[in-house]
Every structure is written in C-alpha cells, then in structure tokens.
C-alpha cells in the first residue's frame, strides 16, 4: 500500500439536470497503445481485441480498446495495467491513467448538452463508436455508450473547466425545457 494518498481529478458528487447526470469516474485505468507501422493486427491479436478502426471501439470482457487518434488506441478497463500486458508488443505502451479525467454523461438530454460543446452530430451515436474531437477549447476522447450515455476523456488538469462547462450547458438545456413544459 502506498503511503501517499491518491486523489481523483475532481472528487465531486454527480450532478443531475433534466434527468441527465454528469459524474466523474475516479482514478481510471487507461493505457495508450500505438502499434508500430503495419503491426496493428498483430498487436490486436496479442491483446485478444481487434485493434479498432478509426471511430470505433473493440470490447471483450471488462476491457475495451478505444480508438484515440491516428495509430493509437486506449486500453480502458479494470484490468488495464501495463504490468498485465503481454511482453514484446510491437507497439508503444504508455500509461495514461493519470493524464485524463474520465466523466460520464448519461440521460435523455446528453446529446443536447454535448451539442453545446462538441461539433459532432451525436444523435445517432451508438455503443461501439468513439471520437476525437473538442469539448469547447479542450481536447476530447468521446466514447458512445448507447442509450444516451457517453464517456468523456479530457486533460486531467482541465477537469474543473470541463466540469463547469458541461454543467453550465446542462443547466441551460434544463432551463429551455422548463419553457416548453
């Protein structure tokens, strides 16, 4: 057991507006895997997960391999740890667990909220899709969870801004709904 206390990026309680909830997944496990040229299929096979094509996620058991940009995927899940990866992967393996804040936005208005911040059409987003985009002025890895749910990754140091901007967008969406109600 380490003597140093581990702190999540935010350590805040979830907030709900208009039936849609923003929450932090504290201390996520994320490993960036970037296969060397021509090695994507072999790396995928070694991991037991298809290396994801752009904008997709491959999933097996508790682990997910999320497309995270050019020639790179994030291995996310409880078992994702550099120590448990097979030896000699023909890929860069970089532990990114502490580099990102992981948020979830779930509910009937999640798409409307994200439309305030993300320049993507997410109305038809389904589980199995992932995007690199921008959350306002912040970098974003966005994972569609299906049924109005999303997982968002942005820089850990920007967590407070991200939380503030998403919550503000949620409150505005809720205020608009109150008008039509």
């Amino acid at each position: 057991m380490p003597d140093l206390i581990a702190k999540p990026a935010l350590g805040v309680a979830p907030v709900t507006h208009a039936g849609t909830t923003l929450a932090e997944i504290p201390l996520p496990q994320i490993i960036a895997i970037a296969p060397y040229p021509g090695q994507a299929a072999a790396v995928g096979a070694a991991l037991g997960l298809a290396f994801p094509a752009p904008n997709t996620v491959s999933e097996s058991g508790g682990a997910r391999l999320v497309w995270a940009g050019r020639d790179m995927a994030f291995l996310i899940g409880a078992e994702a740890s550099a120590a448990t990866l097979p030896e000699g992967l023909a890929a860069m393996v970089s532990d990114q667990s502490d580099a990102w804040v992981m948020l979830t936005l779930v509910g009937p208005r999640a798409v409307d909220v994200l439309a305030r911040l993300v320049p993507l059409d997410l109305r038809a987003a389904q589980r199995g899709q992932a995007f690199r985009s921008a959350l306002g002025h912040m970098p974003l890895v966005l994972i569609a969870e299906g049924e109005g749910g999303f997982t968002l990754l942005t820089f850990r140091s920007m967590a407070r801004t991200a939380w503030h901007e998403i919550e503000e967008a949620m409150a505005k969406v809720e205020a608009r709904l109150a008008l039509s109600a």
């Binding site: 970037a34 060397y36 801004t161 409150a171 505005k172 205020a175 608009r176």
Partner: protein, 972 residues
C-alpha cells in the same frame, strides 16, 4: 389604435410595459412596435444625423427607424428593433439618439443645418485645422450622430453557442419554406426549419390570403401540426439564419430569452452553427419605399407593414389611410383595412394604366410630392395629370415593389442578377453549393408560386440526398402576376429619403455621383447609404437606382454592393458565449494548486496553467522580499517547486533514438540508459524551436521534456516530422505531461531532502535518472537542475501529486528550506544564464545563444541546413550576453541597448533586453540580453534605455552565466 376582432395576439393575456418612462398596455403576442402603435405612439426615435422625429416604418427585421434600448436588470441592449422585440410583462424600453427627450431634441438643430451636412460633409467641412479632427470634430460628430448607448458595464447575461446538423436546412417558414419542409419531412429527410419570427407563416399570416379555399392561416396551422408530429423535423422559432460559411455551415441567432423576463440559467440568445447537407432559402422578400419630399414623417410606412400590423397584431397607425404604390400588392391591404373599418382615402398609383379597385378611389398616374406633419403625418400632397392636390391622412402606406431577400446567396461571393421584369435583384443560380432558392426570395411572388417552388426545391434537394419525394399535391392558391412599373424617387424639391437609418437622401446620392463617386461601392462609402445596422435592407436597391439614373447607366450595369454576413445584427456576446473572463480559455490546475493557494501564493498564468508566483511569509510587504528570500533559500538550503507544467513526451520504439537524432541538434542515440541529456530543437527554418532535457528510460524508451509554453508546439512538431519524414519508422509517442506530477528539489540540502523522502540516499550522478519508489509509489527521479544548485526532479503519477507536494514541503521546512515560486525560479535561472522562451523567442539561432557547437557536425537534423544559411551566424547577429548595471538601478526587459555617445534613435539600437531580475546572491540587478556581436564585447559599457518606463542606465556587458560559471555546485 387596436382593432377589435383582428390579429393573432392573445387578448386574454394583457401585458404592461414601459417606453421612455411611461407605462403602456399591450398583449402577449405583440411586438414592442405593434404595442406602441396600439397606444398611438407615433414618434419612436430620432434619426441618425438630422435628429428628425421618426415613426415605425416596417414590421420586420429590416426596420431602420424604431431602434430602442431595452433595459433589463443586468443588461442594457441598444439598437433593438422594436419590430422584432416581443412584448413581455415588465419590458422597459427607451428611445435613442435624443436629448433631452424624444419630443424635444435639441440636436434637431442639425435638421436646419442640413444644407451644410450633405453627403461627405465631414470630409469637406472639418478638414482644417488638421489637428482638430481627433480632439474636437470627431467627438462632436460622434456625439451628435448616433445610435443607442452601451451601459459601459460587462454584459452579465447568459448566452449560449450550439451546433446542429441536418440533411436539409430550410430558411424561412413562409409558404415556400413550409412547403419545402413538409415535402422533405414526409420523405423522411432530417429537416431543420428556421424562422425568425415567433410564429411561423410569413406573409400568410400578415396578408389575408386563402389556401384551398380557406384562410391561409388554417393551412399554416395544419402544416405546423404535421411537422410537429414528425420526429425528423426540428422547427427553430425566433431563429434568424445570419450567415453562410464554408462546408455548408450556417450561422443562426436564436432569441431564446429575449422575449420574456429573465429566468435563471435561461440564455438570452443562442448562436447556432448549423451544418446542413443541403439548404433551401425561402427568406421571402422585403418591400421597398418610394422617395419623395419628407417621406420620413412618422406615419409613413411600408404598405405590407400596415397589413402585418392589422392582420397579425390587430393594430392600425391611423384612422385615415392612403396608399402610394407602383404595383398591385397594396390592393389586398386596402381591402383588409376597409373591412376592418379603417378609412382608405385613396390609392395613389403611379401607373397611368393601373387597374380600378371597387369601392376605393384610385388616382392613376399620381405621385406623392410631399408629406406634412413633423411629429406625425397630417397631410400629403400629390400630383396627378400635372395638378397638385392635397389629402388629409394620418398614415400613408408605401410600396415601391419588392426586393427578394438574396442576402444569404451572396455570402460566398455570389452576385445577384438584375431582373427587368421584377425590377429587382434575384439570386444567382448555384451561388451557394447545395442551396436552392424558393418562393419570393427567388422571385416567385404569388402564393401559388411560393408553394410550387418550395415543393420543387425540396424535391430537388431530396434527389441530391438520395431520397425520393412522395407525390406532392399542391394546395390551391392565388397566382396573380406581379405587375410593376419602377418608380424610385419622385422628382421635386426638398429632401427625399432613401436610407432612413443613416439619413441618406436622393440629393446625397446625386451629389456623390456629381463629385465622381460613381461606383456603387464608392457611393455607399461617401454617403454611408446602407451602412447602418439595417444594412440598407429597404434602401439600397432604390439608392443604386437613383445612382444609375444620375450616372446615366442601367441598374444591371451599376450593380449592387456586396451583402456580407450577418444578415441581421448578431450580439458579440452570443458569438462569444461562455468566453467572458475566465471562460476565455480552459484553466489548467496543478495538483499543488490548493496547497499553494493555502499559503497565500498569488497565481500567474503560463501556458493556461496557474503557477505560484511567490509564497509570502508574515512580515513581508513586497513580492521582492519573498522572492529574494526564496532565492537565498535555494542557494543556501533547499527549495521545492512544482514543475509539472513542463511538457513530457513518452517516446518509444526501435527507431526512437534515430528519431531523436533527427529532431534534436545534438546526438541522443549514444546516450546510455539511465542518463539525461540537454537538447536543442530547431524549426525547419533553422531558428530555435525549444530546448529541454530528454531521458533514456530504457533501450527503446525515452522521455522528452519541453518548456511549458512550447509543450503543444513541440508535440505538433514531432507529429509533423514523424508523419512527413519518418512515416515508416518504428517510433511512436504520446504526451504524458498530464500523467506525472513532478517537483524540482534544489539546493545544497537537496540530496538530504530526497533521501528523507525516499528513505535512502539517491545514488545518481549529475544528469542521471532512475526509477524509484516514493513511499510505496512507483516514481522517477532525475538529477537535473534549472537553478545551478544540486537539483533533483521527483515525479509520481498525478493522482499522488498533491500528497507528495505536501510531504516534500513539510520535509523541506523542517530542514530550513521551503517552497519557491516562479519569481525566484526566474532569478535563479537568470543568475545561471539559462534561457527560456523570453530568449528563444522565434528569431533566435543556436549561434545567437552560443550553442552552435550543439549542432552536431556528424549527423543531419531538422533545421540544420537552414541554420547554415548566410546571415544566420556571424558578428552581425545579436548574441546572448549578461548585463550588470554600473549603479544599483532597476533595469527592465524590453529596453534597448545603445553604444555610449550615439543618438537614441531606432537605427542605433544595438540590442534589447529579454529577462531581468534582482539577484540577492550577487546583490545586483541582472539582465539577459541580445547585443550585436555581443560575445566579443564582454567588459564593454552600453547604455540601456527603456523609453516606455523612463529607464536609462549604463551597464557592463558580461558573460550570460553570472553564478558558478564552472557548474561546480550542480555537479557536486
């Protein structure tokens, strides 16, 4: 005056509002303009230049006269169009550009001075003496001429920005837009229908037309009900599409909360960016006036506005009305007015062959010569068959024809085409990729024409989208031809207004032509026609027709000015929603942030990060005291500072060493595992990009460190080099800046502090690195120094950052050390002559900073060839030096250096200061500077001059390394 039984307002919901301090009553569904008309308020503003009393001219977004200030609890919004502003309980509005009051405005004296205030008067009248322009004339003119006032405070209101995507964007929900949306929606397309009004329907609600044998409003209601039931349609009310941009992206402004009293979290406006695969422009047409003497008197109004006020709002601006037109469109309005019990004195039709109108006096071939009634129309005079006659009326409806709203088709550089038949500009085909124009915006003025062209535009759009339109049955509607005989201005004496908003008359345009401003673009700028907030919506076609006449050319040949976004005014607050104050950029916080703030450290922003400037102690009154103490602490004991902001890039792969050899000037492939090397990186053009250390963590595993400011820049550069030059290489990298919290520990007691934190003495040579376990956490230890003292940097995963920071702080303090901030860090590095981006500012070569030997001769690197170009090295270049003032004087960064005895002129500047600080170690102010041929000038005295801050000090030129030049301390 309100007309019983007319209008679409909700008479069960009365609303009170204030205008110019007086309380009035209206109804839900009114605009401010319709409510003012209902209350017989005739004068609503003063004109821009002459301060003439003005009334409401239109019923739409094109309004040039009725601009008011809307005053809310937290906002004061000037130039709000009363014709657009919806009424709500408690609305407070004020008229503009008058003093002391709307009824009595002292600056109306301008109207008497009109002969001296013609077009371009300020170019002629206020030329001499020249120096009076800025101090006297311009402020005077600005005070006299004007619009609304800003509050001078921040706009604390909430605004919003949002994105929307669709297959088909339909702009405008009149007959053409509704039909287009309906056809596309029924075919299953994903449709957004935008309408600027609160209630869609366009002129179908404003005129009393019939569709399928029933009032058109019933058809509108049926279509809206069907659209509301379809899940693939989004109807955006109160949303004006304001601009067309690349890649079929549209800007649109939605009035979300402006039509009601403020509510928590409800945005006032939302600026939408709509990405549409296809679009249909169904923005309708705007009616234009006819110029004659004093045609701007309150009570003179567009005929179509009269119809709108009567049929939508149940109000009329006078009991006795006349209509003046050059086309048939006023006839229906006349019939509506009569049916509502308003007396229509006559229709004055300029066409000698105009048709008769049963039950109404029609003066054929008649033109209005003059309107009378300064504070409200009393009488018009007109001529018919050469005979002058007078008519007492309170209101005159004007129709000089219709201008299709072609604006959006011009935003990507399309030029509209002149149609002789319509006497109007119509859109150029294909002006906006993917956009089709339907209805009046495309020149189809009949209801049938609108419905048919809307359906056809939808069908063609669906085809382009790969969808089939179902069978379309067009509803039956009138299909009267549009018959017009152009009439722009009635010849005669006096001033006849074209542009009401900017007070531009027929004479002004003629004067511009006479003075040589014959191009329409020149005329516009000389007269200011079309340059007011209304952008000349109701005036510019008439103005250029007058210009065409004055220059003896045709209208097509004269052309039109360029329509640019936005179509109607957009609040900057909406476009910049969320960006005020701290919202401007993301804030990046260190894990040590709270601990630093707890100690009272003022935070400074660097690369979006917030870093502690210094840590004040009780009794310290200035930042300098704290800074000096912290510097001495590091030099004498031990200091801890958070350096997590430095960029960190994880680089891996069999070709990683080769890649580093390419991006750094010096060689890295020879570096053993467990060692760190300082590296310099050049841009392709040979100038210094960044500097930093790079550690070899394993045979194929490296950790590059960048400066805080250039972390993103270096990452982008590596991406570029890797993709452009090394695509097949076995190397990959990722930023881990955010993943590690890293703390510098520096000073004679640094080793002891690290030993205390790790539980054992660190066994690391200078520029060594090793994995360590810090209180049970896997971390990394580097022996590097940015202070010149023995220094370590200890890194742990970010989640442990705060805990380690507090731990190190406590340990340091028990040893007589403590925290140091950015100010002390800066002094420490200046004492050592270490550079930052103050020095490597983009115009600096490796030679300039004395590092040309770091550019390896044995290998190539990015920027090496370019750095060898003539002029990139040599004595003519300014080179990095140190400066020490001869006396104990403050010196400043940004100051320029001069040889002693030369004139202090730009040409004599021999260099400039980049960094300064007070060194408590050397008891002197110190500077780093660039001086022409500086390395050969150590020991010389130069004059340091900062004219902005009044600094003029003699300094000795020295080596840039002031402290421990041999580096004995850091290698200890």
């Amino acid at each position: 005056m309100r007309i019983d039984g007319k209008g679409r307002i909700d008479r069960t919901r009365p609303v009170t509002f204030r205008f110019d301090g007086r309380s009035y009553a209206g109804y839900r569904g009114d605009t401010l303009a319709s409510a003012l008309i209902a209350n017989d308020v005739r004068v609503v503003g003063r004109s821009f230049k002459y301060h003439r009393p003005r009334g409401i001219l239109t019923a739409g977004p094109e309004e040039p006269n009725a601009l008011v200030e809307v005053v809310g609890p937290a906002n004061q919004t000037p130039n709000t169009r009363a014709t657009v502003q919806e009424l709500f309980e408690g609305l407070v509005a004020r008229s503009q550009n008058r003093w002391p009051s709307l009824g009595f405005d002292l600056l109306e004296v301008n109207d008497l001075a009109a002969p001296f205030l013609s077009a371009g008067f300020y170019y002629k009248t206020f030329m001499w003496p020249r120096r009076f322009w800025e101090g006297l004339y311009e402020p005077l003119i600005r005070r006299a001429a004007g619009l609304g006032r800003l509050s001078g405070k921040h706009d604390e209101g909430l605004y919003e920005k949002a994105w929307a995507h669709c297959d088909l964007l339909v702009i405008g929900a009149g007959p053409a837009g509704l039909m287009a949306a309906l056809v596309a929606a029924r075919a299953g397309a994903d449709v957004i229908l935008c309408d600027e009004s609160a209630e869609p329907g366009g002129r179908l609600l404003a005129d009393e037309g019939m569709i399928d044998g029933a009032p058109a409003a019933e058809w509108v209601a049926r279509v809206l009900a069907e659209l509301a039931d379809l899940p693939n349609v989004r109807l955006m009310r109160r949303t004006t599409v304001t601009g067309v941009y690349d890649d079929s992206t549209f800007g649109a402004l939605e009035r979300v909360g402006l039509h009601r009293s403020p509510r928590p979290n409800l945005p006032r406006e939302c600026f939408w960016r709509i990405v549409a695969k296809r679009s249909v422009l169904a923005a309708g047409a705007l009616e234009r006036g006819i110029a004659f003497q004093d045609n701007d008197r309150p009570g003179v109004m567009m005929a179509s506005a009269l119809a709108t006020y009567l049929n939508r709002y149940g109000v009329v601006p006078g009991k006795r009305v006349a209509l003046f037109a050059n086309n048939d469109s006023v006839r229906a309005t006349a019939r509506s007015l009569m049916a509502a019990g308003v007396e229509v004195a006559a229709i004055l039709d300029s066409r000698p062959d105009a048709p008769d109108e049963p039950g109404i006096v029609v003066h054929k071939g008649a033109v209005v010569q003059r309107a009378r009634g300064r504070m409200g129309l009393r009488e018009i005079s007109f001529t018919k068959d050469g005979r002058a006659q007078r008519l007492e009326v309170e209101c005159l409806g004007l129709s000089g024809g219709w201008n299709p709203s072609v604006h959006l088709t011009c935003h990507l550089n399309g030029r509209p085409r002149w149609s002789e038949d319509l006497a109007a500009f119509v859109p150029m085909e294909g002006a906006v990729p993917g956009m089709l124009v339907a209805g009046a915006a495309g020149g189809s003025f009949s209801t049938h024409g609108c419905l048919a062209s809307g359906a056809e535009a939808a069908r063609a759009s669906l085809e382009a989208l790969g969808r089939a339109a179902g069978a379309v049955e067009l509803p039956r509607a009138e299909d009267a031809p549009y018959v017009i005989a152009p009439l722009w201005a009635v010849a005669g004496k006096g001033r006849a207004w074209l542009d009401f908003a900017n007070d531009v008359t027929v004479k002004d345009v003629a004067l511009a032509a006479q003075e040589g401003f014959r191009s329409v673009e020149h005329m516009k700028r000389y007269t200011t026609q079309g340059m007011a907030p209304d952008q000349g919506k109701s005036s510019n076609v008439a103005a250029l027709a007058v210009l065409a006449d004055a220059t003896g050319r045709g209208i097509a040949e004269t052309g039109t000015t360029t329509f640019r976004p936005p179509y109607t005014p957009v609040s900057i607050a909406a476009m910049g929603a969320g960006g005020r104050g701290a919202g401007f950029a993301p804030q990046r916080f260190l894990t040590s942030d709270q601990a630093s703030r707890d100690r009272g450290a003022p935070m400074v922003e660097a690369g979006l990060w917030y870093r502690p400037s210094y840590f004040p102690k009780p009794g310290e009154t200035t930042w300098r005291e704290a800074c000096d103490r912290e510097v001495r602490m590091v030099r004498e004991s031990v200091g801890v500072t958070d350096v997590s902001t430095l960029g960190k890039i994880d680089i891996q792969g069999p070709d990683a060493a080769r890649f580093l050899d390419l991006v750094y000037t010096n060689t890295f492939s020879t570096l053993p595992v467990g060692k760190v090397r300082y590296g310099l990186m050049l841009r392709e053009d040979g100038h210094v990009l960044d500097d930093g250390t790079c550690a070899r963590l394993g045979d194929q595993h490296w950790l590059m460190t960048t400066t805080t400011a250039a972390a993103g820049l270096v990452m982008r550069h590596l991406d570029f080099v890797s993709q452009a030059f090394c695509a097949g290489w076995q190397v990959r990298f990722a930023s881990v800046t955010e993943g590690w919290a890293q703390f510098a520990i520096a000073g004679p007691k640094a080793r002891a502090l690290v030993a205390s934190a790790l539980g054992h003495a660190p066994d690391l040579p200078f520029m060594g690195c090793a994995p360590v376990t810090v209180q049970g956490v896997a971390g990394r230890l580097f022996r590097i120094s940015f202070s010149g003292e023995e220094g370590y940097e200890l890194a742990v995963p970010t989640r442990y950052g705060e805990a380690l920071f507090r731990d190190l702080t406590a340990r340091a303090e028990t040893m007589g050390g403590g925290l140091y901030g950015m100010e002390a860090l800066n002094v420490l590095r200046i004492e050592k002559g270490f550079i930052t981006h103050a020095e490597i500012h983009g115009r600096i070569t490796a030679f300039d900073i004395g590092m040309e030997k770091m550019v390896s001769a044995k290998k190539d690197c990015i920027g090496k060839a370019a750095a060898a170009r003539p002029g990139m090295t040599g004595p003519a270049r300014a080179q990095l030096v140190g400066l020490k003032p001869l006396t104990d004087s403050v010196i400043t960064a940004g100051a320029h250096l001069f040889a002693q005895g030369v004139d202090l002129v730009r040409e004599q500047s021999a260099g400039y200061v980049t960094s300064v600080g007070y060194s408590p170690t050397l008891h002197s102010h110190l500077a780093l500077a660039f001086l022409d041929n500086g390395r050969a000038r150590h020991g010389e005295t130069v004059r340091l001059v900062d004219r902005l801050r009044g600094v003029d000090v003699l300094c000795t030129v020295t080596d840039p390394v002031f402290h421990d030049p041999k580096g004995e301390k850091l290698r200890a």
